[in-house]
């Protein structure tokens, strides 16, 4: 009788406690198990993490390329995952720390340098060797690969260029009766004439999540032969060329040539000014602005590079890159996949899925790319004079990530774009803020 009732009892106290303990241990075991299981870094496939670049159809096409990878011999296949830009650095950091991250990935422009500093990046020298052998190395546009070379090896491989170029709306210049500027003095005079017709002669934006204003300020410094770093990669903000460039920015502001509301424009507000056919007449923006704002009128054009007072011509470029991580099931398989993927990049531009300049000359010559005269002008006139954030140095470092999007630059750019104070004070504050966060 007792035995029967013991068996039929729905819950004994010890049973309940045991069950609860077991339930409590599940997440613990899962957490422990997750860590050890992930040590293989991606199971039996090379994990490729990619960002939402280009048009919405881009990721589908990139996934197709990835899943179409058929490795030779016993090498591993690849799997594809899209990572959203929101909190992407946190996503990558957590995944790398828990050894559940990718073996290969795209990402932020300076991400590879940050993770290299933390010992998580696998150098790409063997990929570069393979590109030399298959001829793709010689196909790189000039100066594209150099910023990725470090003393220890190639930190990543560039695959597309995020260019900053000056755009103009032709009809507004015609209406104002001025020529499109080719130097700073011309920019000042054109800006004054454009202001008279209610247009903006130097349009940019530095509001929430919009870093184009930050880039515009640095672009003017680089355009004048200046830059944030010296030749050895040390902070050097207070040089004469920078002071001259920022004084010019203040002059543009005081003449009403910089939109005073621009400092608060997020990306949508900023693009809306370019879409508005009577507002933005001239200013720096990204490659593919016409696609971005949906203007197919042929009225939005890429301007000629502008010369500073000393005759310097330069612009900014952010070479987006593909990096490999040490946490991989097989390093050779990572390298083989990356070589394959770089060889397939042309498909993305052929399908017109990219709003960026390709790194390979051969892609810049395909009909789908050359059909847009703005693209051709950027390759011909702007890419050869483009410098990275590292300018005047040639090497990108983790410090460039701290500069891009950091508080010091944002505060500096917003100070300049609101016309507060003067050039030297703004630059001094910028230098001081930057020195607090960069690692020497």
């Amino acid at each position: 009788m007792n035995a029967m009732t013991e068996r039929n009892r729905p819950f004994s106290r010890r049973g309940f406690l045991g069950l609860t303990a077991a339930a409590a241990s599940v997440p613990l075991l899962a957490a422990c198990g997750g860590g050890s299981a992930s040590k293989t870094g991606g199971g039996d496939a090379i994990k490729f993490w990619d960002m939402p670049w280009g048009t919405p159809a881009y990721n589908d096409a990139a996934k197709k390329i990835t899943e179409g990878y058929a490795p030779s011999g016993s090498s591993l296949k690849a799997s594809y995952q899209t990572i959203q830009w929101n909190n992407f650095y946190q996503t990558f950091s957590s995944a790398i720390a828990s050894k559940t991250g990718p073996a290969v990935s795209t990402g932020g422009g300076f991400q590879a340098f940050q993770f290299e500093q933390q010992g998580a990046i696998a150098y790409a020298d063997k990929v570069i060797d393979a590109l030399r052998k298959n001829g793709q190395f010689d196909d790189f546009l000039p100066g594209v690969i150099d910023p990725f070379k470090s003393d220890k090896g190639y930190i990543a491989v560039p695959w597309q260029l995020d260019m900053r170029v000056n755009w103009y709306r032709k009809s507004l210049f015609d209406k104002a009766g001025v020529a499109v500027p080719t130097d700073w003095n011309g920019l000042l005079e054109a800006g004054k004439a454009l202001k008279k017709i209610g247009s903006v002669g130097f349009m940019t934006g530095a509001g929430a999540g919009n870093f184009l204003g930050n880039h515009a300020v640095i672009q003017m410094m680089v355009n004048n032969g200046g830059g944030v770093w010296d030749e050895n990669g040390q902070v050097d903000v207070m040089n004469e060329r920078n002071v001259e460039a920022i004084e010019f920015m203040y002059e543009l502001y005081s003449n009403g040539i910089i939109d005073p509301a621009g400092v608060s424009y997020n990306q949508d507000n900023h693009d809306a000014q370019w879409k508005n056919k009577s507002k933005a007449a001239y200013g720096p923006h990204v490659f593919g602005l016409t696609n971005r704002v949906g203007d197919t009128s042929g009225d939005l054009l890429v301007a000629d590079p502008i010369a500073g007072p000393h005759g310097d011509k330069a612009t900014l470029v952010f070479p987006n890159n593909i990096m490999m991580y040490k946490n991989t099931p097989n390093q050779e398989a990572s390298e083989a996949f990356l070589v394959y993927y770089l060889g397939k990049l042309k498909d993305l531009w052929q399908q017109k899925l990219m709003n960026a300049l390709p790194v390979f000359k051969s892609i810049t010559e395909i009909p789908e790319f050359t059909a847009d005269a703005n693209n051709v002008k950027i390759v011909k006139d702007w890419q050869p004079i483009a410098k990275t954030f590292a300018s005047r140095s040639t090497k990108l470092t983790a410090n460039t990530a701290v500069l891009d999007g950091g508080q010091a630059l944002t505060q500096f750019a917003q100070t300049v774009l609101t016309g507060k104070g003067d050039a030297k004070t703004a630059l001094k504050a910028f230098e001081s803020g930057l020195k607090q966060v960069v690692k020497s």
């Binding site: 007792n2 009892r9 106290r13 406690l17 957590s94 940050q114 509001g207 424009y265 997020n266 010091a408």
Partner: protein, 323 residues
């Protein structure tokens, strides 16, 4: 008979394992009660232990890990070297930190008392019989219900550029076009107003709930004694709803100090840090300057401040309960 009872039922009755629940002859009943009490306590202890362990794991681990990060100079991947309280001292010595403290205080005071004033006013208004009162209540809840991404986009559309509707109204009135988000002072005011707009429905709900507990006869008696409306408000409404008011203040203070999206989506903390609150400052430190230690140190300082403020307000709740 005893075996068919579940252990839980026995525990609730204070019956020890194997016991009948009846006093056994020949043993002092006090000792038995004491023994039973001890066994019951042990049962309760083992029953709650898994939950306590889970809670410690969920809340304690991140707190300890954050403590490690705040006292180290590492990154999100690597803890780095132990630096003691250096991150705290560097943050406390930073001008930007104190500017963020200043804005956080202003933002919180305006957010709490602005939304409370509007919410209480509307709750009092909706207490009177007005046509379609229910519909108004639902409509007035919308700012709280609508996702903050949507409402910040709407506010951005309203005020961001000289072509925005609000700016056009000023221009049409012959006034200078205000730069609501580009001028540092106006941007701070706009962000605070946005917070009040988003938060007043919550305060309205809290106040409306508290007002229902105030008997109308109290007002009628006061009215018969010749009390004015203002006297009724200060002498009846405020004291009788004080407990609920203090609770809503505590909650809204926490909401305001920890509010990241309202500020970040509208201004990103700019222009020139004019709308950078402590939580935005901490975010920027960690994810834009990649200074994990100082950023987490800011979060720790925020937590300590919030605990102190909440404790002070909680004392007020107890005081109002006693009164």
């Amino acid at each position: 008979m005893t075996t068919v009872n579940s252990g839980l039922a026995r525990a609730r009755r204070g019956v020890a394992p194997g016991g009948s629940g009846r006093p056994s002859p020949g043993r002092p009943s006090l000792n038995r009660a004491s023994k039973l009490h001890g066994q019951t306590s042990r049962t309760y202890f083992w029953l709650i232990l898994p939950s306590v362990l889970l809670l410690l794991l969920i809340n304690g681990y991140p707190l300890i890990y954050a403590g490690v990060q705040a006292t180290h100079d590492g990154s999100l991947i690597d803890a780095g070297n132990f630096v003691g309280v250096d991150n705290f001292t560097s943050v406390l010595g930073s001008e930007a930190f104190w500017k963020a403290v200043q804005f956080t205080i202003v933002f919180t005071i305006v957010g709490v008392f602005g939304s409370w004033s509007v919410g209480l006013g509307l709750a009092l208004l909706l207490r009177t019989r007005i046509p379609a009162g229910g519909l108004f209540k639902v409509l007035l809840l919308l700012p709280w219900v609508v996702p903050i991404v949507v409402s910040s986009t709407a506010w951005n559309w309203l005020v961001a550029s000289p072509d925005s509707p609000t700016n056009k109204v000023f221009t049409a009135l012959g006034l200078e076009t205000p730069l609501f988000l580009a001028d540092p002072t106006l941007a701070a005011i706009t962000v605070c107003l946005f917070k009040v707009w988003v938060s007043f429905p919550f305060m309205m709900m809290m106040s409306a709930g508290a007002l229902t507990s105030v008997d109308n006869t109290v007002y009628e008696a006061a009215s018969m004694d010749g009390a004015s409306r203002w006297q009724q408000f200060t002498g009846i409404t405020l004291p009788l709803t004080a407990r609920s008011t203090y609770i809503s203040w505590i909650l809204m203070t926490i909401f305001c100090v920890n509010d990241f999206p309202t500020i970040y989506l509208l201004t990103g903390g700019g222009p020139v840090d004019a709308t950078t609150s402590l939580v935005v400052y901490a975010y920027r430190k960690v994810f834009q300057d990649f200074q994990t230690g100082p950023g987490v140190a800011v979060a720790f300082l925020m937590t300590i401040t919030l605990v102190i403020v909440s404790a002070l307000l909680y004392r007020q709740i107890r005081k109002s309960s006693v009164e």
